[in-house]
């Protein structure tokens, strides 16, 4: 077994250090080494999106990124989405629209939706559906998820104005 590597990164704005196996994924490091269990493992193969995080501004499946690749980089997870105790508009709209049932895919969906609105503040319904096509939800049929994302986008545009 190879020796563990020392990794320094910035997670949700805070500097972190951890030791990791060269073969461990970023998801493993977040969940097991940093205690950030909001990112979920639904498949381990990049098909379900439950582990979605933003790495240096880019949406990735953290199960497909090696932990060692996080060296010197910025990682945003669900735990960093709210501003203290004030929910992000996406989080608030998910609650108001009942866009979650079991809630397991919700962190990944929220992170992916935030990545969408960061690059496209005014998506069409089709754009939102295709952007979120990498995030499986088995409970909702996506109807209320899409409504919540569109509503949050509208609210964020108001805030920007």
């Amino acid at each position: 077994m190879s020796k563990r590597q020392h990794i320094s990164a910035v997670v949700n704005g805070d500097p972190v250090d951890f030791l990791t196996d060269p073969g461990a994924t970023l998801l493993d490091a977040l969940r097991d080494d940093l205690g950030l269990t909001g990112s979920k493992e639904g498949c381990g193969s990049g098909d379900c999106g439950a582990c979605s995080v933003i790495l240096d501004g880019r949406l990735v499946c953290s199960c497909l990124v090696l932990a060692v690749e996080a060296e010197g980089r910025r990682v945003e997870t669900i735990e960093g989405m709210a501003d203290g105790s004030k929910l992000h508009p996406l989080q608030q709209k998910f609650l108001e629209h009942a866009a979650l049932q079991c809630g397991f895919c919700t962190p990944g969906l929220l992170v992916a939706a935030k990545a969408l609105l960061d690059v496209n503040p005014d998506p069409t319904e089709s754009e939102a559906r295709y952007w979120l096509a990498g995030n499986l939800c088995r409970c909702t049929g996506y109807d209320k998820v899409i409504r919540a994302v569109m509503d949050a986008a509208a609210e964020l545009r108001q805030v920007r104005v």
Partner: protein, 761 residues
Amino acid sequence: MSDVLERPAAAPLDDGQLKVVGTRPVRPDGAEKVTGKAMYGADLALPGQLVGKIKRSPHPHARIVSIDTRRARALPGVKAVVTAADFPDLASEEYEAGESASNLRDLSLNVMARDKALYDGHAVAAVAATSSAIADEALELITVEYEVLPHVTDVEASMASDAPVLHAHLFTQGLAEKPSAPSNIAKRNEIKRGDLEAGFAEADVVVEGRYTTAAVHQGYIEPHACVASFGADGQCQVWSSSQGQFMIRTYCAKILALESSDIRVTPAEIGGGFGGKTTVYLEPVALALSRQCGHPVKMVMTRDEVFRATGPTSGAVVEVKLGAKSDGTLIAADVVLKYQAGAFPGSPVGAGSMTALACYDIPNFSIVGYDVVTNTPKVAAYRAPGAPISAFGVESAVDDMALKLGMDPIALREKNAVRDGVKASYGPTYRNIGYVETLEAIKTHPHYAAPLGPNQGRGVAVGFWFNVGGESTAAVNLNEDGTAVVISGNPDIGGSRASMAMMAAEVLGLPVEKVRPIVADTASIGFSMLTGGSRTTFATGMAVTQAAQKVVEDLKRRAAMLMDVAVDEVEFVNGAAVCRDPAKASLTVAELAAKAAQTGGPIGAQVSLNAQGAGPGFGVHVCDVEVDPETGHVTVLRYTAAQDVGKAIHPSYVEGQVQGGVAQGVGWALNEEYIFDRSGRMENPGFLDYRVPVASDLPMIDAVLVEVANPRHPFGAKGVGEVPIVPPLAAVANAVRGAIGRRLTDLPLSPPKIRAAIDAG
């Protein structure tokens, strides 16, 4: 089960007076779930915990000659290794739990194979080690000698007389004569009425078809996960994600021959179940490993393991023949159902038989079902188990009948619809059903009149589910400041904390934010059957409502004491005890709670009941599709689903149940299937190749809630979660028939099949 509650606990409250029930508050567990704080099965880590992993058979059917674990045990970091030898060899015993009975021996053998591996992925050994890498290495060091046997994965091939026999002790039940040889047909069941031959002789029009469905998985996004700890004093703790902490306790106790009082199970948040988490896979293994080494053991399945070793529901063959008079009156129906059970008996063919014709009033029918074992994972409950499969056949045939008769498909269903007072095909007489109202809701919906373009088609289908009640316990405790806690024993799989809090708040006259619901562990609340059968809002909701009503009665008694009047002088109105004598000041819940010490101490009530009278549910769906004639790809353009829900406690979450059920049904119809290669191994055990619907596959799904109250529930609720997966298979297939002009009968309707049908046309 005895009919404990012959009468409703209380007359349904007048709709006009409801303040909380029927509104759409933010769910009480919502903030935890949108911030990533909610703890699911894999999120708990205990000090000193080990990693547990399972070694699985690579063969679909093999005798286990020997298992050598010595090298694995010798590996540094390995703390425990178990095989079937570490579990008691249980006798065959049927055990009633939740929606279906389980045979405890089969359950135990499914958790850990003893003499034979019966499917690719069947557990044969397990290890616990200090790291995941060491556990993986230990699995490699376990040597299993197999004698590979011929296998069979297809349901009809397994019924053939020359098929490899899975269980030498299995003789078909339900035959007129006891068979002389073992068979893979575990059971034949039959439901009959009238004279089938005479019925068909009277028919002016006859249609028939043979319909097939593939095995499909529940597809919950959270893999099975648990942590188990076996104490030196024999006291065990289990934390796991399941549809019932009491179910986990019972099965662990039975499989490991422990006392229930020695096991405390704490429910984690559950990341989807859909019936697939109504049984045990990991928990007894984790306990056995922990017992051997004294450390807590955490086990989490990979997605590959979830596909290969849990769920799915049956692949099946459905044969349907219908006879009708020229005016559209159905007079005869002959239905044969062949359902795959997987490695052990217990497919949902019984429920498939009982639901097959439940929407129709037909004088002459026969429904015969076969429960067939195959070398595939043992099926688990999947949302309205068995019903979508039989409905796919029957609703496809009814669609063909409407075409042949030149009748509108809803008109044909209305003409033959079951109504109050009709004896259901499965026995009881319908009361307070809302089926014709639901048909009407679709007939008058704008969707049903929307124009269709080229290559587009519209399909209609209906569906039925019984819904169940059963045993539940709930407690309502008032806090010192007049707020309240609702405690129940049912995992919240899709918003039930919200509905529990809302029903309690309604009765207590409190704002819903002042009532906090929790889901308690097995030592902290009385027994409750698992979350399944669409029973929680109905049965546990009844327990919550009755407990809140007891609190209200107690508050009236205490108020009367403080007011110094007779208790019948006091009424409870809008969260306050009000005396008929206007001179007496009323007392709010908060004021009464503050004075609890003066009036007898803490205020709270617990109710345990066995709820009867769950109203059956009916759904009517209409689906529009467009077929790309070049690729054979089907796009769902519009989908509208109407359902009689009794009374929607929280309408958003009821709509969500309907929309989610539709999405799963669309996946079943178009994409999803277990594919086995010639060696009997699943070829697509991952979400890349087992393709569940994604956001870009679906349109908005219009859920139309029809409310025909169930008088047996205090607020009129009926179960809602299962009905919506019943109609979509046929609704989609009927729409595809409309689009391409040909009937397809083999699910899923994948592009190659559609292309072949277009080319043949």
